[in-house]
């Protein structure tokens, strides 16, 4: 067992760290957080630097970690223009890939993944938005909720109900590529988020929106399977976001303690603080090991859903834990400095792309079905 990354992945990490230090300054992070605005310039720079390349997943994993370590909101915004692209990579026709995937990979377009609806996000099979095939077109009616890039995306990979479910609720769902400027398609920006305010979030309303049948991804009725496959991949990336956040919080703590030391207040670094520091560092290391293990299975095309869910649940809880403890240690400095933003940002990790509760159900069900580690 080798715990060291290859030279290439280490280089990707270094490059991302360098980029983060120059392009994601605290001033920039504060500005977009306050204005609740997508940082288009930073995103363009990140795309131009070629470091956002999801066809190179290991490099992407460490890149996400480093960007979120500098600032979670901007770090996510810089890489999220390809959110959902794996669905196209894995299941779309060559024509769809050429038309939709290529521009987002080249930084010329932004995409989104639209699954959640106002009535529910955890219960994916319970979604209600319908797409009915009529005269060679799908006609879509319904709405999607909390969609990242919702207001700015050129198109969405959207999970829809194309036929009534049979005995299994998840049957009858399909994935379509839906462009954002179609007639009957409206989007409302959702504001007032607790954190990740540099990301754009919107509600999508679809009223008799017509989409060519050729925009169907893969086969009709297999949408649930495609999206679950996608989540299994994206959850590893959320774990990487979470590790970045936790590491960023630890950086703040270390900076604060260094200042105490340098200003002759070393005696204030009690054992209590040292133990908390150890707990944060240990949990970050454990999250890394779990995430890299999950990624290793995934990127070798042998995904282990339960390991990915463990990594996502554990790393996201670690992100929140690290920020909460860092706030306790740093007091006023954290409250009025940049750390408070990390605390606000971290909470989304336990909610999106499968809440912690849903991850725990996935893990338990694998074991109850006789799964082996």
């Amino acid at each position: 067992m080798d715990f060291e990354f290859s030279e290439e992945i280490n280089r990707a990490r270094d490059r991302a760290r360098e980029f983060a230090l120059s392009a994601i300054t605290p001033e920039i992070a504060r500005k977009y957080d306050l204005e609740e605005k997508f940082p288009e310039e930073v995103w363009k720079k990140a795309m131009a630097s070629k470091m956002v390349d999801f066809s190179n997943p290991w490099s992407m994993l460490v890149t996400i970690e480093e960007l979120c370590r500098a600032d979670p909101g901007i770090g996510i915004a810089a890489t999220v223009s390809l959110f959902g692209s794996e669905v196209l990579m894995l299941f779309a026709s060559d024509q769809l890939k050429e038309k939709y995937l290529k521009p987002v990979q080249e930084g010329r377009a932004i995409m989104g993944l639209a699954v959640t609806e106002p009535g529910g996000g955890s219960d994916v099979a319970g979604l209600k938005t319908e797409a009915k095939l009529k005269d060679g077109k799908y006609v879509i009616n319904g709405s999607k909720m909390f969609i990242t890039n919702g207001q700015i995306a050129d198109f969405f990979v959207m999970l829809l109900r194309t036929s009534r479910p049979d005995s299994k609720r998840h049957h009858g769902l399909s994935v379509l590529v839906v462009e954002g400027n179609l007639k009957g398609f409206s989007r409302n920006k959702l504001t007032g988020k607790l954190g990740v305010r540099a990301t754009n979030t919107a509600e999508l309303i679809l009223n008799n929106v017509e989409v060519p049948a050729s925009n169907l991804v893969g086969e009709e009725g297999k949408g649930f399977y495609y999206i679950m496959t996608f989540f299994n991949i994206s959850r590893a990336y959320v774990a990487a976001q979470s590790i970045g956040i936790a590491q960023g919080a630890l950086d703040h703590v270390l900076g604060y303690l260094k200042n105490l030391k340098e200003s002759g207040r070393e005696s204030e670094i009690t054992e209590d603080i040292q133990f908390t520091l150890s707990d944060i560092a240990t949990r970050i290391e454990a999250s890394r090991l779990l995430t890299y293990k999950a990624a290793s299975y995934l990127f070798n095309f042998q995904p282990k859903q339960e390991i990915t869910s463990m990594a996502k649940a554990y790393a996201s809880e670690t992100a929140v834990f690290a920020c909460e403890k860092a706030m306790e240690i740093t007091g006023d400095t954290g409250l009025y400095g940049d750390l408070e933003r990390f605390l606000r940002d971290s909470k989304i990790m336990e909610i999106w792309e499968g809440t912690s509760e849903i991850e725990k159900l996935v893990i338990a069900r694998t074991f109850l079905k006789g799964g082996q580690m």
């Binding site: 306050l34 959640t116 009535g119 529910g120 996000g121 955890s122 219960d123 319970g126 909720m145 909390f146 959702l190 007032g192 988020k193 607790l194 954190g195 005696s267 204030e268 009690t270 054992e271 209590d272 929140v320 909460e324 706030m327 306790e328 007091g331 006023d332 954290g334 409250l335 009025y336 408070e340 605390l343 606000r344 909470k347 989304i348 336990e350 909610i351 999106w352 809440t355 912690s356 509760e357």
Partner: protein, 347 residues
């Protein structure tokens, strides 16, 4: 619970339903406006602990804590304003200017201070400088920075109550108590009153209100968050079942409510308890506020992450409460000393 605190809970509930509930989001976004402040004054909440001859209501302390708890369950910022006014500000104004207390109690004059500096005996992190009859300097991160009166440390032992020459130089959006606003205040004044050796004179008095007051706000924050989440899990369905039907959800919320009730019992009987118990409750209830508000966001799913649903503010405020309104390290040392009888837990 005493009859009077029962009565006050009812009155405050009614007031909050009418004046705060539908404006809680606006308070978070734009601050507590003059209208609300004056309504708080007219109803006697702003000067709740002040003597009636100083324009206050003179209610008993149990009723005051009950009142704070109810306010915090709707708007922690309003509760924080009431606590600052009745504890630190009240104590200092008593020595500095009795006439001004009346105006503060009515909501016609606004008073603020660096809460953290007056909730512990540690040297203040910020102070103004006083020389030749003038006080000058800039204080950072002052709550309610647009106030008319500012109380600030001028040395390790003395503080000033400053009546004019205050100017807000920068406003910020803080993590917590956004209804109070936050900013830097520049001071250049010859209109002030110095209180020498304030720690000896007033720290104990301040803490005797601040300790249970912070607990009351912590429990109010938790009550507000738990009320919202209990309602939500009853109406929200996932996988064709109410959220409340899932064992981890109902167990967690039930356990939190049980802990809540136990701590509330403590709070309601605060009058018969000593300082040590008040301190214990403060340390436990502030930690509890963080746990319960985090659970409330989580069970709201994506909706919990948006201000419109009114739960995320409780989570944010639970942090500010234990940083702005108290000094946790100092309080842990105080408790260790009370428990072991000598200075302990400092290594």
């Amino acid at each position: 619970m005493s009859e009077s605190s029962d009565l006050i809970r009812g009155a405050v509930e009614e007031f909050c339903q009418k004046n705060i509930s539908n404006r809680a989001l606006e308070i978070e976004r734009n601050g507590i406006d003059d209208g609300i402040l004056q309504a708080l004054g007219t109803q006697g909440f702003l000067g709740a602990l002040f003597d009636p001859q100083d324009g206050g209501s003179g209610i008993d302390r149990s009723s005051f804590f009950a009142m704070l708890e109810v306010f915090a369950s709707y708007s922690p910022s309003v509760a924080a304003k009431l606590l600052i006014t009745n504890s630190i500000a009240g104590q200092f104004l008593l020595s500095a200017s009795r006439e001004k207390i009346q105006d503060v109690a009515q909501g016609n004059l606004k008073v603020t201070c660096l809460t953290g500096s007056f909730a512990s005996a540690r040297p203040p992190a910020q102070r103004l400088s006083e020389s030749s009859g003038r006080i000058k300097g800039v204080l950072k991160n002052v709550p309610s920075p647009g106030s008319d009166i500012l109380i600030a440390p001028v040395s390790e032992e003395s503080a000033a109550v400053i009546f004019s020459g205050l100017r807000m130089v920068e406003e910020r959006k803080p993590l917590s108590f956004r209804g109070l606003r936050n900013g830097d205040v520049s001071v250049d004044s010859d209109d002030f009153h110095i209180i020498e050796g304030w720690k000896k004179k007033t720290l104990d008095k301040i803490l005797s209100t601040m300790d249970p007051g912070v607990s009351a706000i912590a429990l109010g924050i938790s009550r507000g968050a738990l009320r919202k989440v209990s309602e939500y899990v009853t109406v929200r369905k996932t996988f064709d079942h109410s959220l409340k039907d899932y064992s981890p959800v109902s167990r967690k919320i039930s356990e939190l409510l049980a802990d809540m009730d136990i701590m509330e019992f403590y709070l309601d009987n605060m009058e018969s308890m000593d300082d040590e118990k008040a301190l214990k409750l403060k340390l436990r209830s502030t930690e509890f506020a963080r746990t319960s508000t985090k659970a409330a966001i989580q069970y709201h799913g994506g909706y919990g992450y948006f201000e419109d649903f009114g739960v995320e503010k409780f989570y944010r405020d639970s942090y500010g409460l234990s940083i702005m309104m108290m000094d946790r390290e100092y309080d842990n040392l105080r408790l260790s000393e009370k428990i072991f009888g000598s200075r302990s837990g400092f290594l």
